[in-house]
């Protein structure tokens, strides 16, 4: 168990290092400069600025300097937001992103589970068809379309929730709901097929034959077993939510990280691009890691010791 965790952790660190290196090199290929008034600068002014920020040095030297600073926990300063450290920018903006993301995941999982379970238990009835249709719609329509529709009908027409901006808890609901659409659809579809599969298993028949009442069978044997694969889905879903926030944050005016990421790429804010890429990658790797470990706990058939007992 311990050695498995250690090995996975080492892999994670190596993956992160490769991502950082690749991003750093790819970024050098982007045309332009991080100076917002590049159009007005003369060649000599630009050379002076490049020297000031160390951008005149060979890429290899810049890379080594960056990695050196990174190892000391220094992500550098933003070009666009003069005087702000990348660390403080991430710190300020991660809260709102994380909140709507996690809330979206919770909303999506709950609604998805309900839809999925109902349609499996009422297999081939109108309830089943409705929820399957909803799931297909949720998968195929991008979340920003839902966001725009909700903003107009719930926000402007009905006035039930704030149209946008980040004023209080009510401001978080529509962004979270918009983000949860994909999650809802995926979870619903998944749990439905898992349930149907488990319902046909021998042990379910056995449980029923033993005379357990139906709700006991469903709760204890069917849902619990069907839930296991859902846990593995949550990892990739969490990631899809992270990327979804890029657009959703813009629409609802959420002061989050996603919007900052797009902006930093557009204005070539090198240190911010690196910082946020690093942050997202680390988060992604951590989620995958946690899901792997959780999976081992939930399903005794998976052996974390790497099959040494086999």
């Amino acid at each position: 168990m311990k050695s498995y965790l250690l090995k996975r952790f080492l892999y994670s660190v190596i993956t992160l290092f490769i991502i950082v290196s690749a991003t750093f090199l790819l970024m050098q290929l982007l045309p332009g400069t991080p100076y917002s008034n590049a159009e007005k600068l003369t060649e000599s002014q630009r050379a002076i600025l490049d020297a000031k920020y160390g951008l005149d040095k060979p890429v290899a030297v810049q890379y080594i300097t960056y990695i050196g600073n990174l190892l000391q926990g220094d992500l550098g300063y933003s070009f666009q937001y003069q005087g702000r450290t990348v660390m403080s920018m991430i710190g300020d903006r991660v809260g709102p992103s994380a909140f709507i993301g996690l809330q979206g995941l919770v909303f999506g999982t709950i609604i998805g589970l309900i839809l999925g379970i109902v349609s499996a238990l009422r297999h081939n009835t109108w309830l089943d068809y409705t929820s399957v249709t909803l799931a297909v719609l949720g998968m195929s329509i991008p979340s920003f379309v839902f966001a725009a529709l909700m903003q107009y009908y719930i926000g402007v027409k009905l006035g039930w929730l704030p149209v946008a901006l980040w004023e209080n808890y009510w401001s978080t609901i529509m962004p979270s709901l918009a983000l949860s659409v994909t999650v809802t659809a995926t979870v619903a579809r998944f749990i439905r097929s898992e349930m149907l599969e488990v319902l046909g298993q021998d042990y379910v028949t056995t449980a029923r034959a033993k005379g357990l009442n139906e709700s006991g069978v469903i709760w204890k044997h069917v849902i619990r077993n069907a839930l296991i694969p859902v846990v593995t889905m949550l990892g990739p879903l969490a990631v899809s939510i992270m990327t979804g926030t890029l657009v959703i944050e813009k629409i609802f005016g959420v002061p989050g990280l996603g919007e900052q990421f797009t902006l930093s790429i557009l204005v070539l804010d090198y240190s911010v691009i690196m910082g946020i890429t690093l942050f997202y990658s680390a988060l992604f790797i951590a989620v995958v890691f946690i899901v792997d470990v959780l999976y081992g706990f939930l399903d005794p058939r998976i052996d974390l010791k790497g099959g040494s007992q086999a």
Partner: protein, 550 residues
């Protein structure tokens, strides 16, 4: 671990922590419309509160490092330099109450007004000396504005040939500031209204260190408004500065700015009275053009075609003239763009730059590049004969934005229709790439944009002299160079304006050196109750000093 304990305490605690990390603004803002009934003491007057919007956060509040219109907008309203842009876009004395010039107009002596920083310190001549030298020392993004202003040694310092302390500015005493120029400069006063020339309180800046200007409390005001709150990525608040010397002119008590990045969301917020002014994109114009608050406002940016004057065919003036005259600009702005842009038939846009006698530049010079399809065809045939060809294929270097792609496709259709044998290949690349290609002059035609550095026609004209970093097409006419050199030091303003008009004629009438296409415009939804929101062409976009709610 006991799962019940987790459920009872850990989860709620985690949720509380998450909420605490959210930085809600809870401004509870009400627009001027929403606050109809909040009139002061029930006398029927409206509360002087407005809510405006910006498309992104303020990059920096440090005037020496500010580099975009959003920062300039705030700085212009909370701070004040020696001069300020007024309602008619002329400059007037502001932080200085007197401006004396030596006979040769090299030495300028300013007597400062009694003004206070928001921490109570007086604004002194030392504050100006400190901040201008700081711009040079820190290589601020707009340090070249001090060079354009012609301040002594600024160019040498910028090129690292002299020390920032050698800059031609000196505080004689607390109230007297002496500025020395390299040569007389008719633009000097105009430039002084720019944010880079604002004063900074040395003691405060040094005390704050690397925290300076990062939060509202780390910024000092000395202008019509105070900067009272700033929530990153969400918005900021300006409140009337009662200590301001001209506080009687200031009507607005409070102006809130919201960061609204999505234009559709902005329009929805406008409809629900959460904001009083939002910018519309062209896709939203049709939907809102019948709204009471819909306005089109001219902007000072221009869009034009650069010709590569090294290209054999494009070096021919008749070919260039044919291309210039073959494009129907009304169709472009009214049918294709629909975003408030207007056709442009000169290098200098309309509506911002008037002669010393008060007439608009465009009115004086007229539609220099306007022609008919027939004239275009005539020039085209003549040009082709001169270069000994019967057809021409060129490519156009352009940014891959929605706007530019639309324009590029329109140009292709227009030019290929109106000029027999003309073929245009579109080469859309990212904006930064477009600029690099342009700087290397590796294109045939380039779809270019220009925004003014300062509020004077010169900013659209002196870029075409030989060797200018903005020329980028190897255009050279010694006559134009000479006229620009004259205008740069000509302190007889009426005569200078004549020269500026002449420069544009040389550039366009004689040489057809570029093909102006349109003057940018913006569509807005603005609450009709807001009066006198002053729009400027350069530096800051707006002044709230004279704004009111009726």
């Amino acid at each position: 671990m006991d799962t019940k304990w987790v459920k009872r305490f850990m989860l709620p605690a985690a949720a509380m922590l998450m909420l605490a990390g959210c930085n809600f603004s809870d401004s509870g803002g009400k627009s001027s419309e929403g606050s109809d009934k909040e009139g002061a003491e029930g006398d029927g007057s409206k509360a002087q509160t407005i809510i405006l919007s910006e498309s992104s956060d303020i990059p920096t509040m440090d005037s020496t490092k500010a580099h975009d219109a959003i920062a300039f907008n705030v700085l212009n309203n909370i701070n004040e330099g020696l001069y300020r842009q007024n309602e008619s876009n002329d400059v007037e004395l502001a932080g200085a109450e007197k401006h004396d010039k030596s006979d040769d107009e090299i030495t300028h002596t300013f007597t400062l007004r009694d003004q206070k920083w928001s921490n109570g310190d007086p604004v002194t001549a030392h504050d100006y000396e400190y901040s201008w030298k700081r711009v040079m020392r820190e290589a601020g993004p707009y340090n070249y504005m001090l060079v354009t202003a012609g301040i002594k040694n600024a160019e040498k310092i910028m090129n690292e040939e002299a020390d920032a302390d050698e800059l031609g500015i000196k505080a004689i005493d607390d109230k007297t500031l002496e500025v020395t120029l390299e040569a007389p400069n008719p633009l000097f006063e105009t430039l002084l209204a720019f944010a880079t020339f604002l004063p900074q309180n040395e003691k405060f800046v040094e005390e704050q260190g690397d925290q300076y200007a990062l939060e509202a409390e780390n910024v000092l005001s000395n202008g019509p408004f105070k900067f009272t709150s700033w929530q990153q990525e969400q918005g900021w608040t300006l409140e009337k500065n009662e200590d301001y010397w001209d506080a009687d002119s200031v009507k607005i008590d409070k102006a809130e700015f919201l960061v609204i990045k999505d234009p559709q969301s902005g329009a929805n917020l406008y409809e629900t009275n959460k904001v009083d002014r939002v910018k519309l994109t062209s896709s939203l114009v049709d939907q809102y053009k019948d709204n009471d608050g819909f306005t089109n406002e001219k902007a000072s940016g221009t869009v034009f075609l650069r010709f590569n004057h090294n290209n054999e065919a494009l070096a021919n003036v008749n070919i260039r003239r044919a291309i210039t005259e073959a494009i129907d600009r009304e169709g472009l702005t009214d049918v294709i763009l629909k975003d408030g842009s207007v056709p442009l038939y000169g290098a200098v846009p309309e509506g911002f730059y008037t002669s010393p006698e008060g007439t608009d530049f465009r009115e004086l010079n007229g539609d220099v590049t306007k022609g008919t399809p027939e004239e275009a065809k005539e020039a085209w045939e003549k040009g082709l004969k001169e270069i000994g060809a019967d057809s021409l294929t060129v490519s156009i270097n352009m940014a891959d934005t929605d706007e530019m792609k639309k324009v590029g496709e329109y140009l292709q259709a227009q030019l290929e229709d109106n000029l027999p044998g003309f073929k245009l290949e579109l080469k859309a690349v990212p904006f930064a790439q477009r600029l690099e290609i342009e700087k290397a002059i590796e294109y045939d035609l380039s779809l270019s944009t220009w925004g003014p550095d300062y509020a004077d026609p010169m900013t659209y004209l002196d870029m075409w002299v030989k060797g200018s970093s903005a020329n980028r097409m190897d255009y050279h006419n010694p006559k134009l160079d000479e006229l620009v050199a004259d205008a740069r030091t000509d302190t007889d303003l009426s005569h200078r304006y004549e020269t500026l008009l002449e420069i544009e004629k040389v550039l366009l009438e004689e040489d057809a050196a570029i093909a102006p296409l349109y003057q940018r415009g913006n569509s807005y939804l603005t609450r009709p109750s807001i009066k006198n929101l002053v729009i400027h062409p350069a530096g800051a976009d707006i002044s709230l000093k004279w704004t009111s709610v009726e």
